[in-house]
């Protein structure tokens, strides 16, 4: 695999995490414009831990995810009463607060005669863990995909279990779910925290893959893209967001014909797709039909 | 005046009407009874042009209306009083009435103002509340407003969908008295009702609709009252 292919494929893998994160919120019936905040938190926390404090990567990632998950818990609890556009804008505000906040974080330490650490809008470079530990890009890509498969396994397992049914019920009609004796608040927060952790995981991978991050990477465009991926791919299954990511980053990046017109092509494609498939390519109905077909054959 | 001939309507994959034939005569109150899910509201929506019939004909005064848009159906002289009233909640009572006369308010401002005054004479409670937001009216008042609003388009036939839904029995009596009064002034009415007792007390003719088909038609008294009520609620199985 050429370096270019490895970097595109790795990118797809990392963006898939935040796309899945936005997808989980769509499943519980909420639109979030703010998942990039957890992605950014994961990136910054784990980056600081490895680059400045010399922690091992796995531990830094665990803590990055934990902080992202805690932030999701706090924001999730504060926004419990909100839904629809109110929820969307509240999450957007939070994410922008994080991004703008990071713009004024200047914490640097001297390591080997060089200043390392977040430097506001100048960004945070020299997150050199993979160089220091001789991890090749290909190996790191493998790590990304092993973790992605892990997350997907959890999601598929949830989808098939009672928990998945309960979460879909909370998403499609919270009042009805409540009337059925389901603890809506608990499941909503559970899904929100899990979504935060996944986004944090993606972010902590991203920081170490890119070795340089800056607050503006985690702007609202990233959030709305990840939201769109789920909707393009379909809300019926966790494969949906991956299709969206593949279509945008993989297909259009790969097909050089659209060079310079990529967004016109992609935007038009998505708009037309949504006219015919308003709940995405793999919506609930199609997923159901495919499952039945698989069972029969 | 209004004849529905062999109409088929589907909601997506579900067939709601399977060849309904009925007619409403001028100056009469025609009732449509039947259990939940029999297709009563679907029929109303199909006549009003909100849903499209897959097959069959709907004629109003001899003119085919089954292809007309909802707006054209209103212009032809058919007004719908929807289930659950659906008043415009944060608009005032008077604005609701104006909205009811939307199809002619631009051409005939004076006529609309006259009609609003006429509605206030008929429904004095609406006059008292003319500046109030419609969403703050009681259920019965909202039903009166919905009825008055429908009359504002100067229809020749009124389609009423479940006017008694969610109202206290005493209020239901009032509403049906108003229906009688409106009819006494010459308005043709097609009434969908769950409350078979009330409906039969005002109907000149009634139809029983079950599983998207008419299973009985006749005048009140032609079928044992208990039997009608039983079938109106439960259908025949």
């Amino acid at each position: 695999m050429s370096d270019y292919v490895v970097s595109v494929v790795s990118n797809m893998g990392m963006i898939a995490f935040i796309a899945l994160s936005a997808y989980i919120l769509l499943v519980i019936g909420e639109i979030s414009f703010g998942q990039q905040a957890y992605f950014g938190i994961g990136a910054y926390i784990s980056g600081v831990l490895t680059a400045m404090w010399g922690w091992p990567l796995w531990l830094a990632m665990v803590l990055g995810c934990a902080v992202a998950g805690s932030a999701a818990l706090i924001i999730g609890s504060l926004t419990l009463r909100l839904s629809g556009i109110y929820f969307a804008i509240a999450t957007l505000s939070f994410a922008e607060m994080i991004r703008l906040g990071l713009l004024s974080v200047h914490v640097q330490v001297e390591i080997d005669g060089e200043l390392v650490g977040p430097e506001g809008a100048e960004g945070f470079g020299d997150i050199r863990w993979i160089f220091e530990n001789d991890v090749t890009p290909f190996e790191f890509m493998t790590v990304i995909y092993v973790l992605l498969v892990g997350v997907l396994t959890i999601l598929f397992w949830v989808e098939r279990s009672r928990l998945g049914t309960v979460i879909r019920m909370v998403g499609s009609d919270p009042l009805l779910a409540q009337a059925q004796g389901i603890d809506v608040v608990f499941y909503r927060l559970l899904a929100t925290v899990f979504a935060g952790i996944i986004a944090g995981l993606g972010g902590s991978l991203y920081a170490h893959f890119a070795t340089y991050i800056e607050p503006n990477v985690f702007n609202v465009m990233l959030g709305v893209h990840s939201l769109a991926y789920g909707l393009i791919g379909g809300l019926g299954t966790a494969v949906g967001p991956l299709i969206g990511v593949g279509l945008d980053i993989g297909f259009l990046e790969g097909v050089r014909v659209f060079q310079g017109y990529r967004m016109i092509a992609f935007g038009g494609l998505v708009a037309v797709l949504l006219i015919f498939m308003p709940r995405g390519i793999l919506d609930e109905e199609r997923v159901h039909r495919i499952k039945r077909w698989l069972e029969r054959s | 005046m209004l004849t529905v001939g062999d109409v088929f309507t589907s909601y997506g994959m579900i067939k709601a009407l399977n060849g309904v034939t009925l007619s409403a005569s001028e100056g009469e109150i025609t009732c449509l009874l039947g259990p939940n899910g029999a297709g009563k509201t679907t029929l109303m929506f199909t006549i009003a042009g909100i849903l499209r019939a897959q097959a069959g004909s709907i004629k109003f005064d001899g003119q085919s209306i089954e292809r007309l848009s909802a707006a054209k159906v209103v212009e032809a002289g058919i007004a719908l009083v929807p289930e659950n009233r659906l008043v415009f909640p944060t608009m005032s009572v008077e604005e609701n009435l104006e909205a009811g006369a939307f199809i002619r308010v631009a051409k005939d401002r004076a006529g609309v103002d006259d009609d609003i005054e006429r509605m206030y004479m008929r429904f004095p409670v609406l006059k008292e509340r003319r500046e109030q937001m419609a969403g703050t009216l009681s259920g019965g008042e909202q039903q009166m407003l919905a009825l008055a609003r429908a009359l504002m388009s100067r229809p020749r036939i009124l389609l009423m969908d479940e006017p008694s839904v969610g109202l206290a029995p005493l209020i239901v009596e009032d509403i049906f008295q108003i229906i009688r009064d409106v009819n006494a002034d010459g308005m043709t009415i097609l009434l969908v009702e769950q409350n078979a007792n009330m409906a039969l007390s005002v109907a000149d003719k009634f139809y029983l609709l079950e599983h998207g088909r008419v299973t009985f038609e006749g005048a009140p008294g032609e079928l044992e009252q208990d039997e009608v009520i039983r079938r109106a609620y439960l259908g025949t199985e």
């Binding site: 926004t79 922008e96 998505v270 006219i275 709940r279 | 909802a70 608009m91 104006e98 909205a99 308010v105």
Partner: protein
Amino acid sequence: MAIERELFAKMVDFVQNCIDGIMIGAAYGLLAIGFTIIFGVMRRLNLSFGPSIMLGAFFGTWAFLTLNAAPWMVLAITIAGTVITGIYVERLCFWAIRRDATIASMVSSFAIWMQLDEVAILMLPGRTYPFPEMFVSGGLNFGPFFVRAEHLVTLLVTILMVVGIRLLLYRTTFGLALRAVSESSDAAKYMGINPSRITFLAFILVSLIGGVAGYLLLATDQQVTPYFGLWVTFKGLIAMMLGGMGSIPGAIIGGLVLGIIETQTQWYLGNAFKDMSAYVVLFLALVLRPGGLLGQGIAERQDLAFRRV
């Protein structure tokens, strides 16, 4: 004496910030009105509102740069460009998509946003372009206070437009239909109103408003970048949410509050906190008072609907 003078100078600063805030906030208010009208008739969010205005302004700038168009021509072209783009967005993202598919419409309007950005960049590949100044420039002194002429024009045009919009909504048949569709598009249909026609006309109206607001903002700043689209969408959304959705006075008040918050924080805390403060206030407002500052919000309407049934 010295202390008093210092206090007076502080007061002057504060009031001057409020004046500047109100002037900028007036344009925010217009943007918020655009959002609130569209959200009202469709119950769907048009993320492409800002980018449509941005593209309209790029047409205006293009005409200014290549054809040397006069300010009033730039204004006309900006408005026309916004209206055409608005119609394109409406047809593709809203009219063509089922009315109940709200998320699909929103994502579609985002996809089209990407398109509009790229069209702007293809048209003028540099990042920043000058935008011609208004017919007037300079400013006026009122005692210790100073008001820029552009700001004064913005305020006056906003007042005129708000009065015009109010008359249109409350004194015309179109306004009646638009309000009826906003309250209940089903019931409006039963009255013989065609909701998709009203939506289409509302898009044209809103594009007109947006085109004017965009022109006022850009002619004050005298430069335009593709980021203007993002900026407009979020300023408009924030102002609308601050004031409470579904109300014209709310939109204006939200715009003014946003303008004042921004200028005050910029003055006292510095540029870095200008945008931050708006988001903090919005977040707190949403969490503490979901209906907005002026409460004819959806939350209250839903309450009303519950009480009714």
